[in-house]
């Protein structure tokens, strides 16, 4: 009798060990990467965390609620510009970080509602086209809002954006804390890590909540969902707003981290890239989305080394690595569609939809069972 609680105890102890190991690993990661690969890779790691947040935001819209959004980068742009315009010499405003972060998320959320409201009746391809247009509209606005009144500084972008400052400590400079030297990318890493973990936590809670179930229902069948008593309109708008606010949050961080933003950073290719992250990783499944985002941020950077390799082996660059990157990337996506169509770490439902090869055989068995009765 006593063995049952004992195994339970062992299980929780085991879970705790994994948890602690993971925590220590994540805390030491930037130092290991700095020592092993160099400072520039810590920056790439920071960017990877930003993309994880973005991908998790888009995952709410596409993965949970099933609304295909091809203009998601617009919310990243809104968050970034919100931060940049209120914390740079542009208007001479220097609002504190703790005010800018929620503000960026909230403004992006409003833009999410702005996109959601007119597209409520659209589905699938039609929704994709409108969202794509929306993303472009935002970018073009940012590009052109420098005349007659200069608001966004047009294609030149916004410069000298204040770095994130927490409790008087600027993350833009190297800091020594308890005798340990943290460079700026290290400091940003810890901030982004904390926020990424919070976004993961919120995503998990949302998925298991009543709202999450309602999203799953409208993803499957809107009419049936409404017949269950779900207010489809509000639940869809909530998906757009929640997803957008995650994007806005990441955008604000991006602006503070980079110190410079321009409309160029928010083009269609970025939207597609984020969508690829969640498709590659496994739509609707949080570990899959995180993996997809990290892989697709890190891989293109790693492929840059192909240029160096060519120089070392052949003496000069034969194939431009940036061309090769897109080629290999396309190749990787095709391979994935062939071998893991539901993503690297698929969600349960996607697995059922795409992965289950036995589904037809199963259906036949059912019919046989019925016939026998």
């Amino acid at each position: 009798m006593a063995s049952v609680p004992e195994t339970m105890n062992q299980k929780t102890r085991h879970a705790w060990l994994v948890f602690v190991a993971l925590g220590v690993g994540l805390a030491l990661l930037p130092f290991l990467i700095d020592a092993g690969l160099g400072r520039s890779w810590v920056r790439i790691l920071d960017l990877a965390l930003l993309y994880v947040m973005l991908a998790l935001g888009l995952n709410i819209v596409v993965g949970y609620a099933g609304l295909l959004d091809l203009g998601y980068i617009a919310f990243y742009a809104v968050g970034a510009y919100c931060y940049a315009l209120l914390a740079s010499p542009m208007f001479g405003l220097h609002l504190p970080f703790w005010a800018l972060l929620p503000l960026g998320a909230a403004v992006a959320g409003l833009f999410g509602l702005m996109l959601g409201t007119p597209t409520l009746r659209l589905r699938g391809d039609y929704l994709a086209i409108v969202t794509l247009g929306f993303g472009e509209i935002i970018r073009i606005f940012l590009n052109n809002l420098n005349a007659p009144i200069n608001i966004t500084n047009g294609p030149q972008g916004v410069n000298q954006i204040d770095p994130v400052t927490i409790a008087g400590m600027s993350l833009g400079k190297t800091q020594v804390i308890f005798g340990v030297t943290f460079s700026s990318p290290h400091l940003y890493y810890y901030l982004f890590l904390i926020l990424t973990l919070s976004v993961i936590f919120v995503s998990m809670r949302l998925q298991d909540s009543r709202i999450g179930r309602a999203w799953a229902a409208i993803r499957e069948d809107e009419v049936a969902a409404e017949a269950m008593g779900i207010n489809v309109r509000n639940i869809k708008l909530l998906a757009f707003a929640m997803g957008a606010s995650f994007g806005g949050l990441a955008g604000g961080l991006f602006a503070g981290f980079q110190g410079f933003i321009s409309p160029e950073s928010f083009n269609l290719m970025e939207s597609i890239m984020i969508l690829c992250m969640i498709v590659l990783g496994g739509m609707g499944n949080i570990p899959g989305v995180v993996l997809g985002a990290v892989l697709l941020t890190v891989l293109p950077e790693a492929l840059r080394y192909i240029g160096d390799l060519q120089r070392a082996w052949i003496g000069h660059v034969v194939v431009d690595p940036s061309d090769l990157r897109m080629l290999l990337f396309g190749f990787a996506l095709i391979l994935m569609m062939l071998f893991r169509p539901a993503g690297l770490l698929p969600s349960r439902q996607r697995k059922r939809e795409l992965g289950a090869q036995g589904a037809i055989a199963e259906q036949e068995q059912v019919s046989v069972y019925d016939a026998k009765r």
Partner: protein
Amino acid sequence: MSLLEIQHLSVSYGNIQAVRSIDMALQEGERVCLIGANGAGKTTLLKAIAGMLPITHGSIHFGGHAITRLASYQIVHLGLALVPEGRGIFSRLSVQENLAMGAYIRRDKAAVQHETNEIYQRFPRLGERRNQPAGQLSGGEQQMLAIGRALLSRPRLLLLDEPSMGLAPMMVKTIFETIHDIAKRGVSVLLVEQNARLALATCERGLVMESGALTLQGASATLAQDAAIQKSYFGE
């Protein structure tokens, strides 16, 4: 006051009037069937009651509330559930998840759990396959799931649209036994059915619909004896 009261109800698809000025009432605890040929407007009438179609004229009252202009999700909250034609199950969600969606509007988790287990007892096949995607169930099992799911919203009135469609005779029998049991527990039933004989045998009262209008109504026993009905709907 009747549970469901419909006055001069008309519904149009563009220029085509699918339901023409219908008046009907349904009492609490009553089982009523609606029979008629294909295209008579039966499904349209059910959908209009459930708030899934815009109403051109007339009014609908349910449990004392005017529901004519309410959205379908609001009507569910008042205790009216529709099992649509073709069942409308969430095929990629598991059987259990489908049933949980039926209880979406409820907060009393313990009671929902209890009623879910009751449904598994009534339909053992659903219990066996509770973790499988609903799309892999057979047609009859899907119909049971759709009915079970609708019951979990604790409706006062259950609208059933062609529950026997495409099912083996054994399954049809099970489904109609279930409808009987549902009514015994005090849930009112409005049943649309092609199989007029079975429908009249299950319900106390019948309504006959022809090209969008009600042409006949009365006690099932009387209707079943009606020569015109026997000729048109029993195929005799």
